[in-house]
């Protein structure tokens, strides 16, 4: 028997990962690893992992990875890229990390046209701390800290990070995808590839937002979570390439 193209990419370790059933991180880790393999950049890639469940990404990817304090991956990535401009540097951040505590870093890093790539995983909750409201939680969505649903008068609106970042001159490529079915995953993978190519071509800052499933955090079965992301989340966060210059 010969392997088809559907075998585990080299940039993933054999380590089994500890994410919950149906968690989208595994899919996103894999498509990033596939892109890294396809672009032949594994030996020059340095990733910055967030605080949150995905901090363990450094146990799963087979390239160099560092941790960073909560919300600060874009600053850490800046410190790496400025002294090693020929390496491929990307951050992997959740909605709490990037869109709440790390808003300052993400905006200024994008605005500097820092030549890095940001993978932003939006699953609408703080997964690791048991599902509190995130900046991206939908209006009316119940979470651990919005037990009666997110209220606009108290909690404001879901933060549209990609749209916000796209108005900055320094942001060269911004796209939003999801991982709810093979077609969407293939499209999202193409966004990630374009983002990395944007960096390889020294064009500047690129960001791919990925709508993802956190079944445990939003208290749904994996399949329910999948359908909810596909049918509800995409209404608030429309998919597609938002900016490509």
């Amino acid at each position: 028997m010969n392997p088809t193209k559907f075998v585990k990419p080299k940039s993933l370790k054999d380590t089994h990962h500890n994410y919950c059933p149906g968690c989208g991180h595994g899919i996103i880790h894999r498509i990033i690893a596939e892109v890294v393999d396809e672009l032949g950049i594994r030996e020059k890639t340095i990733a910055v992992a967030p605080v949150g469940c995905a901090v363990f990404a450094y146990d799963y990817w087979d390239f160099d990875v560092t941790e960073a304090p909560h919300g600060r991956p874009p600053a850490v990535a800046t410190g790496i890229k400025r002294v090693l401009p020929d390496r491929i540097v990307f951050t992997y951040q959740g909605d709490g990390d990037l869109a709440a505590i790390g808003t300052s870093e993400i905006i200024h890093t994008a605005n500097r046209a820092e030549n890095i790539t940001v993978i932003f995983v939006n699953n609408t909750v703080y997964g690791m701390t048991q599902g509190q409201m995130a900046p991206t939680t939908l209006i009316g969505q119940k979470t651990l800290t919005t037990p009666y649903g997110r209220e606009v008068t108290r909690d404001g609106y879901p933060l549209k990070v990609s749209e916000l970042i796209s108005v900055l001159d320094g942001a060269r490529y911004v796209a939003r995808g999801t991982v709810t079915n093979p077609k969407n995953i293939t499209i999202t993978k193409s966004y990630i590839k374009t983002a990395f190519i944007t960096q390889i071509e020294n064009k500047g800052f690129s960001l791919v937002e990925i709508l993802s499933m956190c079944p445990a955090g939003i208290h749904m079965s994996p399949v329910e979570a999948l359908n909810w992301v596909e049918n509800e989340l995409t209404k608030c966060f429309p998919l597609g390439v938002i900016k490509n210059v």
């Binding site: 559907f6 919950c20 059933p21 595994g26």
Partner: protein, 75 residues
């Protein structure tokens, strides 16, 4: 006469968490959820119709635990 397998699915059952993403995505109904549980305590995915697999890779693409790999038969 048995149908010859064109594609072989390799599944790491022991690490399967039974999310069912592969099952709902498979257009050929090759996969199903087992009634037994694995060492992790999850009902795991099992192959019920290997011969129907057309190697489309949708299960591989959907698996969040990258437990599925697909091989093609050599003639």
């Amino acid at each position: 006469m048995s149908k010859k397998n064109k594609f072989l699915l390799k599944i790491n059952y022991e690490n399967c968490k039974g999310c069912e993403y592969c099952i709902i995505t498979c257009p050929q109904k090759v996969l199903s959820l087992s009634d037994e549980v694995n060492k992790l305590g999850y009902r795991f995915v099992k192959i019920i119709n290997q011969q129907n697999c057309n190697g489309c890779g949708r299960c591989y693409i959907m698996c969040p635990d990258y437990l599925i790999e697909i091989f093609s038969a050599t003639d």
